[in-house]
């Protein structure tokens, strides 16, 4: 197990809230994450098969720009990676591993990580964003959409946790 040297969740929450506030003040929108995945997928598909990527109406929003990768959220998540890497390295929490519940097989973990990821990727597009762009940023704006998503997300999570009780134990 890793060292349990995390900061108080309230301190981390204050830092995160001030970062979000600074983003509202400086840029004029909130923090995001999921759109970067959709963008990179669209650009990647466009490299492999421009014809098929071009035929997908939803992806056209990313591909019409002159430089699709010059995207604000993509740059922001690049920073996210750097900041998290710095935090993990400086605190001695960086360790290459395949993290899973103690009794779970690696094969099962591969399936849960991939399936969960697919659900999240699909759901984020339907919801107009994820925990960062809709729940956190929208929640802080007191946006109705943000709070609808927060409530539904916790409801969905509790149902699945009740169905798979020993998934993480």
């Amino acid at each position: 197990m890793e060292k349990n040297n995390f900061w108080s969740p309230y301190i981390a929450g204050i830092g995160l809230g001030l970062t979000l506030l600074a983003t509202f003040y400086i840029i004029g929108w909130g923090l995001g994450a999921s759109s970067a995945y959709s963008l990179v997928t669209a650009v990647g598909l466009n490299e492999i098969s421009p014809g098929y990527a071009g035929s997908l109406k939803y992806f056209s929003r990313y591909l019409t720009a002159g430089y699709p990768l010059k995207d604000w959220v993509l740059f922001e998540v690049t920073g996210l990676f750097i900041g998290a890497l710095a935090g993990a390295l400086l605190s001695g929490n960086f360790r290459v591993r395949f993290d899973k519940a103690e009794k779970m097989s690696s094969k099962k973990r591969l399936v849960t990580a991939a399936t969960g990821g697919i659900l999240i990727g699909f759901a984020s597009r339907l919801s107009r964003g994820c925990t960062s762009g809709v729940a956190l940023s929208g929640g802080a704006q007191l946006a109705a959409g943000g709070w609808i998503f927060v409530i539904a997300m916790f409801a969905g999570g509790f149902v699945v946790a009740a169905l798979f009780r020993r998934l993480w134990s």
């Binding site: 003040y25 998290a84 990821g117 759901a123 597009r125």
Partner: protein
């Protein structure tokens, strides 16, 4: 009133991208240091074993919301120039439910998966690949679900606008709810 600075043309696109990286660094640092790169802590709330996620999330929401509406009331920030998250009632209900399911299964969400991968977790990279695949599935199915995607659009409406009350009433309600929630979580964690 000159903020949001980017919206008022204080700098160009390239500077905004540099600032995106800087703001992202703080975002990632606080996520990782708060324990939100760790799938055990991320899923703990759903099993009543670890309440890190709601503690970090609602503290951040309260801090940012208080600052946003305070700056707006002091006329230091033009909130009409801030892009407000739009509401689509049924798509966000369905999306939220599916998202919560995926969150518990994978142990991550899009931002925290990057924080997990940055702390050396290869399972997070699998989840990240899945998120990309899920986006692709959405794009492929989009012609069939477009009707639902735009159904029950409410616009970029906020709770104070919807309830026709001052935003500070909503804030006070949130402070009280959060205080009660944090108190119960601390008590529950101490007992178990």
């Amino acid at each position: 009133m000159t903020a949001p600075l980017y919206g008022y043309g204080m700098f160009g696109v390239n500077t905004s991208l540099l600032l995106a990286v800087i703001l992202g660094i703080f975002f990632g640092l606080f996520l990782e240091r708060g324990g939100l790169g760790n799938p055990h802590k991320l899923t703990g709330v759903f099993y009543f074993t670890d309440f890190t996620v709601p503690k970090v999330m609602f503290t951040a929401i309260l801090v940012a919301a208080s600052g946003l509406y305070l700056l707006s009331d002091l006329k230091l920030l033009d909130i009409s120039r801030v892009w407000i998250v739009p509401a689509f009632f049924w798509p966000q209900i369905a999306g939220g439910l599916l998202f919560g399911a995926g969150f518990v299964l994978s142990g991550y969400c899009p931002g925290t998966a990057i924080a997990g991968f940055a702390s050396g977790r290869l399972d997070a990279l699998v989840a990240m690949t899945g998120i990309g695949a899920g986006s692709l599935i959405f794009a492929v199915l989009y012609p069939y679900i477009e009707g639902f995607y735009i159904f029950s659009a409410m616009g970029s409406v906020t709770l104070p606008q919807l309830l026709k009350i001052n935003h500070w009433f909503v804030m006070v309600l949130l402070y009280v709810l959060a205080a009660g929630m944090f108190y119960l979580m601390e008590r529950f964690e101490k007992r178990s």
